[in-house]
């Protein structure tokens, strides 16, 4: 019972954080025009959840809920950008968890880079298969990857500072 309550509070806190950032992020301008791209700062609660070892299922819940809530708040629910964001955050949550669980080779920065890479790749695959239905959108892939590197570094730094001051082990179930 206590474990279950801890798990629910953990998901709730990180989801609230992520969906608020998802909403505010839509006001931030992008320095270059890349279709469908966002900064992606709302992925740091996902990274925090991954590196504090809370489990794959809980991380996937946070990814799903933050996209649902964030897109309802910003009025993008069921729009093409919503599907791209959903695929991207689920894929990055999954791959970050897998790399964290089965290899012990990457630090927080490396896990964050992996998440950014798969998020960008899956977003473009979804866009090219279901939305614009043309492979030409891959022209924008290197520019998205480049911004992914910068965002991944910022997210990893935020998570590093949080882990220094908050003991997340108590959330482990």
């Amino acid at each position: 019972m206590v474990k279950r309550t801890k798990r629910i509070s953990h998901i709730a806190i990180l989801t609230a954080l992520a969906s608020a950032i998802y909403y505010v992020e839509s006001f931030l301008p992008m320095p270059v025009s890349v279709p469908g791209a966002r900064w992606g700062f709302s992925n740091f609660p996902l990274l925090l959840s991954v590196v504090s070892g809370i489990g794959v299922t809980n991380t996937l819940y946070i990814a799903l809920l933050k996209t649902l809530l964030g897109s309802i708040l910003s009025g993008r629910f069921l729009s093409p950008m919503f599907w791209m964001g959903l695929g991207g955050s689920l894929a990055s949550a999954l791959f970050m968890s897998l790399f964290f669980k089965f290899t012990n080779k990457f630090g927080i920065l490396g896990i964050s880079e992996i998440g950014a890479f798969f998020s960008n790749a899956v977003q473009l695959i979804i866009a090219s298969l279901f939305i614009v239905k043309s492979p030409h959108i891959f022209w924008y892939f290197p520019y998205m990857l480049f911004f992914g590197i910068i965002t991944a570094f910022i997210n990893a730094t935020i998570v590093n500072y949080i882990l220094r001051s908050v003991n997340l082990d108590r959330f482990k179930s």
Partner: protein, 124 residues
């Protein structure tokens, strides 16, 4: 958990090399364009070969965007999408670079000149 490990650096170098290679491939045949194709949800709806301004209209008869083709370059003006990414892309004169509007699901694909059509970067 450590902030960085040695493998993180290798991963970063691999991704940066990938970015540089892809940007180089994107920009390599940089010459003028001879027209453009406009695709709406994957179906071609417009073929532009003459200079001028063209309107892209949805199935419901709503104006989605205007496409302007002048001086071997192309751009999107007056789009109905919220973030205007397609308008901010500006003039395009590289036959490889599409202008894409995600909310309206439109792709504007420039057509290259005859000798530039041998390279297709999308098959990597």
């Amino acid at each position: 958990m450590k902030f960085t490990k040695k493998n993180d650096l290798y991963l970063l170098i691999v991704v940066i090399l990938l970015v540089l290679v892809m940007i180089f491939m994107n920009t390599s045949p940089n010459q003028g364009i001879i027209g453009a194709e406009v695709h709406l949800k994957g179906d071609q709806i417009l073929q532009i070969t003459k200079e001028g301004t063209y309107s892209v209209i949805s199935d419901e008869g709503e104006l989605l965007m205007n496409v302007e083709y002048v001086d071997q370059r192309i751009r999107v003006t007056d789009s109905s999408c919220p973030l205007k990414v397609c308008e901010n892309t500006g003039w395009v004169e590289n036959p490889n670079q599409p202008i894409i509007c995600i909310p309206n699901e439109i792709t504007v694909k420039p057509l290259g000149t005859q000798n530039g059509e041998g390279i297709d970067i999308y098959t990597w």
